[in-house]
Subunit: 306 residues, 2 copies
């Protein structure tokens, strides 16, 4: 039985590509591994796999009795619900350390960089395993996605260096135009329902006793979302009520203007002011320079709610 | 202010040497670090530092407001009580993943090998930093200590390879006789009180609601502890009562015979039989082939108490 390698719920391109890459690397090192996904692929991820001729991982939502490797997360809430009944062999990630614990020693590569695939590139180098051209291309896209083409506050020199090396292997001559091509796919909002858009990149957090949901929608220009903004807000109301959430936030991030319009639906809007020093106007607030949920929004909210 | 690097409470030789090595490596990589210890050094650790001309780390038990790197543990109970008020920059370890979590991304190198110093040797190689001769010697001793001169069930090929490389750097020609010399120091029981002997390498666990303490005393021959066994048992009674513990176990491990006499002081001796398939006779039970608390005793007890 293959070891299952998977990223977080509502998988983004990093979760998909990291699972594929780690399964490839570990299999070549002698541990039979299979990449899987916890949920449907985003249009961006589909574009990336298509572009580099990779097939989509199978969907797996239950892992009881299996051996597993987690990528791109270390939180129980982001893993399958029956993770406790699986044997965790390793974690490769770039986030804060979550609440996953294990009864046995395991292998963790967790670095404070912009993308899991940056860590995985180092692992290939460390083990002296050759990176296949198509997987290198997918990993390159994952880093461009997670770092918003190097503009995110989470982006490090390691990420940039990894991209250069990966582009060389994949035969990509213009990294930025590959990134723009990918973000145009990601930006498209006309083919999705408001619900799909909210959950495109969505996470629930527990902050000082409050259940807080934060989604993020990255677009190359905010005008793209203008026609659907009211519909998004109406859908956020349903999401808030259904999950018994205290607040639902949706980050509309303009990757060219380098800022975020935060749509706010909260029992108490005070934490927004506390977190960012600006009051909500109408249903939203413009946060100049805010690009990263992980590095800029979550830590500020955690203090404000704490 | 230097980043503090420290191992677990009741530090063993790995915790001390790993802290020294990581502080050296990270400082050379541009992050000013200082090795510290949470408690007094064992005779074994003193012997190792003395042998390779290294000074003992300063003792630090409070880390509020500091930046820290943990080595050889990832459990809150094994860290300073105010760890929550420190900023954790990294964890280098070889145990099961504990309950430490962080609000920010961090650097983790955690491998399923016999000793933290085996991971650190790989880190020096990865970063291309030259290992000082004396630190290589101390790391070699840490691996020999944690793997009981390669006899422990936790020992891997990686540990053996690291030792060979470290011996080359440190100029140690006979690894086994260095290990034996060190274990003779560790085995000595005549200079310590029974309490010191119990706490020489001691950990508390929470198992299925029970508070269980497990100490380990490794000797080159069980005859060494025979004269102090009754005194140890009397002291275990005090330890059990003071801490409101449900059981206190003391592993008397004979590293040459490759087995453990387990001294048992428990409200309910049933878990011992469940865990090892043998009843307690008098105050102890002989466990043939059992050398490792982490890999052989704790997992079995966790199932038995679970
Ligand atoms: Mn990621
Ligand atoms: Mn250790």
């Amino acid at each position: 039985m293959s070891v299952l390698v998977f990223g977080h719920k509502n998988p983004d391109t990093d979760s998909i590509c990291a699972a594929i890459a780690v399964a490839d690397l570990k299999s070549k090192l002698g541990l039979d591994c299979k990449p899987v996904t916890q949920g449907e692929l985003t249009p961006e991820s589909k574009f990336v796999l298509d572009k580099f001729g990779l097939s989509a991982p199978e969907t797996v939502t239950s892992v009881a009795g299996q051996k597993v490797i987690l990528v791109d997360h270390s939180d129980l809430a982001q893993s399958p619900d029956d993770l406790k009944e699986a044997e965790i062999l390793g974690i490769i990630d770039h986030h804060k350390l979550g609440d996953v614990t294990t009864p046995n020693p395991l292998e963790c590569w967790i670095w404070p960089v912009g993308c899991t695939c940056t860590v995985i590139k180092a692992m290939y180098d460390f083990y002296g395993v050759e990176l296949p051209k198509n997987i290198a291309g997918a990993m390159l896209c994952a880093i461009l996605s997670d770092t918003v083409i190097f503009k995110s506050a989470t982006c490090t020199e390691d990420d940039k260096k990894a991209c250069e090396a990966l582009a060389g292997i994949a035969g990509v001559s213009d990294i930025t135009s590959l990134g723009m091509e990918m973000f145009k796919v990601k930006s498209a909002v006309d083919k999705d329902t408001p619900r799909d858009l909210i959950f495109r990149d969505y996470k629930d957090f527990s902050m000082g006793g409050s259940k807080v949901g934060i989604g993020q929608l990255e677009v190359v220009d905010l005008s793209i979302v203008e026609p659907v903004k009211d519909a998004l807000y109406e859908e956020m109301k349903k999401v808030k009520e259904e999950g018994g959430r205290n607040a639902v936030y949706l980050m509309l991030t303009d990757i060219m203007k380098e800022g975020t319009e935060l749509l706010v639906l909260a029992d108490d809007p005070e934490p927004v002011k506390k977190a960012f020093g600006k009051p909500v106007e109408g249903t939203s607030v413009w946060l100049d320079g805010v690009m990263s949920r992980k590095k800029q929004v979550v830590p500020n909210f955690e203090k404000a709610y704490g």
